[in-house]
Amino acid sequence: MPDAILFPALVWVTLLLVGGGLALVRARDVLQRVIAFDSLAALVIALLAMLSYLRDVGYYLDAAVALALLSFTATVAVARYLASGGPFG
C-alpha cells in the first residue's frame, strides 16, 4: 500500500487517540471509563495494523491480536466485577 495513504491515516489515528484520552478524562462513571478504555484499545489495534502495513512486516499484528485478547479479558472482568461485586460472583 502506498505511503501517501498510510502516513495521513497514521496521523489521523494518533489524533483520534488524543480524542480517546479526552473521553477517558471526561468520563463521569466507572463504566464510561471502561467504554473509553475499550475504544482506546480499538484505536491502538488499528494503529498497530497500519504500522504493520507501513513496514511490511507481520510482527505488529501479533501485538494487535494480543492487545485485542487483553482488552477483551479486562473489559469482561471489570464489567462482571462491577455488576456483581466480585470477580467470580
Binding site: M1, A9, L16, I35, L43, A46, S52, L61
Partner: protein, 99 residues
C-alpha cells in the same frame, strides 16, 4: 493491474474504517448517558477495526493478511460479548441504585 486494484480496495477500506472510528469517537465524546456512549462505541470496536484490518489486502503480503484474518475473526467474536457485558453491568448497577 491487479496490484493497483488491490491498492484502491485497501485504501477505500482504510478510509471507511477511519471514518467509522471518527464517528464513533465523536459519539462517545458527545453523548452523556452510558447506554448512548456504548451504542457509539460499538461502531469502533466492531466494524471500524474490522474495516481497518480488512484493508490488509492492499499490502499483498500473505503473512500480514493471514494474521489480519485471525484478528478479524477474534474481534468479530469478542466485540459483541464485551459490549453486552458493559450493558449488563450498567443495568445491574442502576437496578441496585434504585433499590
Amino acid at each position: 493491474m491487479i496490484s493497483a486494484v488491490l491498492d484502491v480496495i485497501g485504501g477505500v477500506l482504510l478510509f471507511l474504517g477511519l471514518t467509522l472510528m471518527t464517528i464513533s469517537l465523536y459519539g462517545v465524546l458527545r453523548q452523556r448517558d452510558t447506554y448512548h456512549q456504548l451504542h457509539a462505541q460499538g461502531l469502533a470496536t466492531g466494524p471500524g477495526v474490522i474495516a481497518v484490518l480488512a484493508s490488509s489486502i492492499g499490502t499483498e503480503n500473505a503473512a500480514i493478511i493471514t494474521f489480519a484474518v485471525l484478528a478479524i475473526s477474534f474481534v468479530a467474536l469478542t466485540s459483541p460479548v464485551s459490549g453486552h457485558a458493559i450493558a449488563r453491568a450498567t443495568r445491574r448497577r442502576r437496578g441496585r441504585a434504585e433499590r
